[in-house]
Symmetry: C2
Subunit: 546 residues, 2 copies
């Protein structure tokens, strides 16, 4: 008995937790009005708590409730969270409920993270790319408690996530199968679910939230804000990268540069005869700016990390394009889409705010500990890849018998940010931020040696062709415009790089600067997108101009 028990400490600990919760539950259904007391009964000091919160959906009923527990009872928690996105996430540290955090992204709260760190109220385990944080949940950061969210549950505990499946199955699996306790907030408890996204076998308790879970329309870009520099860059990307390398499977990040590309496909792309030849299979969220390309027949498939507010009915009406369940609504999955974005597509493209002379870049700037999100996982050459494609092979420069291709990792950057601040710098702010915060390495988002192409409004640097670090730096300088880095470019050297195809200016790839204006965009407003969608796209109120 003793011997057996010594191998069952974790299941016994779980059993005691579940028993303590019984006072607040009817079967698996928790009483919403007793949620704070229930969390106090459930969570023990020092627990590793996985709190669902990514850059889109948030288990906000549970996070708000957690922030109300008595720090005398629940304290020093170790929080595992994709995105420190809400005020109360930081209140947890302010109040001493949590002490340590492992996370991926802290966009809206990054200033406060830096402040709490300085005040000694918050300790960072590490900052990750999403998929890497989940990986550790199966190794040494297994959660004792998971607080997740879904749209609906039945009374047995089966969950329907609806379109925002996102991280939920991963967090639940890491917790449920390691004797952790899984609590799911749901918008409502129903008798029959439209489909089951997570089986009741993996869920301990469900609770009806006070209001629908919070979700950000993060991937909505209003075409009105796309400027002519972005259109020029978009044209260069289509001609100088997608067409040249035959890119059929790709990921697009958030940003007006890539929104411009999406809106140029049915116009500029069509005029080049590229439909069906590029941009067929996508790993990305249901960007509203992709609607015109979908409607014009460019897109074969889209697999999504998460959903996007207002895209539900459109997705339901386009089942040939999206991954959907038998109920007709989207099935997203962040881990599988990250895998697709890492190993299954040929191109990652993302915008950056700051790049050094070697092509390293980061969104971490002084005083801001923003983190990484999904970019590092997709923005590197996955060296475990073994399958070839036309695009991947086109980056092979070596003649060695064991040579291999390479992923296209494209960084776009306008040479100057708002206010005339140069985007190209000698040393990334991230280096200073890392040093100041005692981080073991500088928080670089994308490393220069992983970048294959840099695109600015000046031109494209085909870095994968550069021989050695010195030539890479010359190629970056050649497209860095009037920044100090750019002014180091020598005209003769740049001419040589252009002649050798390592640098291209718009005219070198047949892109006319004069053509780069907003009339080229397939949609110039949110209203245009709604029209393209046949009225199916239902933009959030803040994006409505009418």
């Amino acid at each position: 008995m003793d011997a057996a028990q010594s191998w069952s400490k974790l299941p016994l600990r779980k059993q005691r937790r579940v028993e303590r919760m019984a006072a607040f539950a009817d079967g698996r259904v928790l009483r919403p009005d007793r949620i704070v007391a229930a969390l106090e009964a459930l969570i023990e000091p020092g627990d590793r708590v996985a709190l669902e919160g990514d850059n889109q959906k948030q288990a906000d009923f549970l996070s708000r409730s957690l922030a109300e527990v008595d720090p005398g009872k629940v304290h020093d928690l170790h929080l595992l969270i994709s995105t420190l996105g809400r005020r109360e996430h930081l209140d947890l540290f302010e109040r001493g409920i949590a002490r340590k955090v492992d996370f991926s992204f802290a966009g809206p709260q990054s200033l406060r993270v830096a402040q709490l760190l300085e005040d000694g109220k918050l300790e960072i385990g590490a900052i990750y790319t999403y998929i890497e944080l989940y990986a550790r949940m199966f190794v040494d950061l297994t959660p004792q408690v998971a607080l997740v969210c879904a749209e609906q549950a039945d009374r047995h505990g089966n969950l329907y996530t609806g379109a925002n499946t996102e991280d939920t199955p991963t967090i639940v699996e890491a917790t449920a199968f390691r004797h952790g306790v899984v609590v799911a907030q749901v918008d409502r408890i129903v008798d029959e679910l439209p489909r089951v996204d997570i089986p009741a076998s993996w869920v301990d308790f469900v609770v009806e939230a006070d209001r629908p879970f919070a979700v950000e329309p993060l991937f909505t870009r209003d075409p009105r804000h796309i400027n002519e520099l972005q259109i020029l860059m978009g044209m260069m990307i289509i001609r100088g990268i997608y067409e040249r390398h035959g890119v059929t499977a790709l990921n697009h990040g958030i940003g007006f540069d890539t929104a411009a590309v999406e809106l140029l496909l049915p116009t500029y792309g069509e005029s080049l005869g590229l439909k069906g030849k590029i941009c067929r299979n996508w790993a990305l969220n249901p960007h509203p700016t992709l609607i015109p390309a979908i409607e014009s027949g460019w897109v074969e498939s889209i697999h999504c990390f998460g959903s996007e507010v207002g895209m539900g009915e459109y997705i339901r009406a386009r089942p040939d394009i999206f991954f959907v369940g038998s109920d007709g609504s989207l099935r997203s999955n962040r881990v599988f889409c990250q895998l697709a974005g890492q190993y299954g597509v040929d191109l990652f493209i993302g915008s950056t705010l700051q790049m050094d002379a070697d092509g390293n870049s980061s969104t971490v700037t002084l005083g801001r500990l923003a983190g990484f999100g999904g970019a590092p996982n997709m923005g590197h050459d996955p060296r475990g890849r073994r399958h070839a494609s036309e695009a991947w092979l086109s980056l092979m420069t070596s003649k060695e018998p064991v040579a291999r291709g390479r992923k296209l990792v494209v960084q776009t950057v306008e040479t100057f940010k708002a206010g005339g601040v140069p985007a190209f710098v000698d040393t990334l702010d991230a280096v200073e931020v890392g040093r100041k915060n005692g981080m073991p390495i500088a928080p670089v988002m994308i490393y220069g040696d992983d970048v294959s192409h840099v695109v600015t409004e000046e031109g494209i640097a085909y870095l994968y062709k550069a021989e050695g670090g010195e030539e890479r730096r010359a190629a970056i300088a050649a497209v860095a415009g009037a920044t100090e880095i750019g002014r180091r470019a020598e005209a003769k050297r740049t001419a040589d790089l252009r002649a050798r195809g390592i640098v291209a200016f718009p005219e070198d790839i047949g892109v006319s600067r004069l053509q780069a204006n907003r009339s080229l965009l397939a949609a110039r407003s949110i209203d245009d997108l709604v029209t393209w969608s046949g009225g199916l796209y239902d933009p959030p109120a803040r994006f409505r101009g009418w």
Copy 2:
């Protein structure tokens, strides 16, 4: 109506398939005696069919049935399969039922794959590492049909995979949410499942197989076959790598070298005072040779790709160690364990059969198209990683402000294979195999520039410390023994490399060759492992020596 239909071709196609199956089904339950006719009704010529078969479990009732369909009705299929492991997989090509295949591993059938390729009866899309093949199932290789297996189903279609969850949820998700049809063979249909691993919402049909699904005890290594060279290498690995770099989270592949390490932890490792300091969190299958280390208190957690035959009761009795469900049996998951092995652990170690002078290696040899399995995904430096650990940082050699750490990728190789064939060669057989079969790149398993350490019976080459390709080659030559590559090592150069810590011989790291004998192993037979397990480990008959 027309317009709506044009966006619903895939769901309509699925609906027609499901309707055709009705004749052979009672609800979701297919008649086993009509399975061949049912598959003929379901599958259309040219379909992409994901057939579950990895290096462990196999949907063999379905694969045997598929091999019996009329090639006049079902032909030119595009097979997506992890492991071409069974005779009937190749019969599909012989009979013209299938034409093209994307796969990861073909160990037992690799000779026949090469032959069918030469005969023009089989066409290879590409050869992948597991996780990369799944990634493409969410991009451009979405399956129209998935044929998978589980232990039990209920009549609604909920599945219980038991300990061998493995690839099933991934294949099913890629198919079910893209209007593919999912058919699961199960050992039996029951009223109530011990737990639900895959919800019925994702499954179209279940069928009771004629016998329990096939599963290979692939990860069982009989300690009787561990020789003294492997013990010597194991001692070097523990002292020269695990202790030196403080490796706490790791993966072990299949092999007698790593089995030796596992069996040396409770003896040699204990004598060095390393318990609790190294080898705590594992991403690997439930290797029987890990039982003594578990029983001795070395192991905190093990997350598994799949299960292992005979380990069920032992796992059930050790819930603190393994990931298990509420029913007490293992929950494995190949994708999550590959993620853990890629991003969540600090070390991958694997044996190889052939290595070139630059450290490139492959198990593809002349006439054998074995493929890759999971090794490339874990056996590379994951450049998307952003979190630091002691072990990872210990490989940082640069002082640059944006320097980062590195994963330990260890390759073990005895300098000569059976029959006196040198393992070190000037050119990998894979180069010739690739050329002969018209492959776009040579099928290299692990690339030399990803390898941080090479271990032979001669010593360890710390390749991550070598400056430049020439020094790497010298370090490899220094441990390549009496092979031709090894004879190129110059004594003076080797002395310099040893002085600089780039090469270590056993005596340099305090490992005594004399001590390297079988008495050091914590278990010297399968019987010893059973004893260690308190009789809970139940080895397959073929491993029983008594």
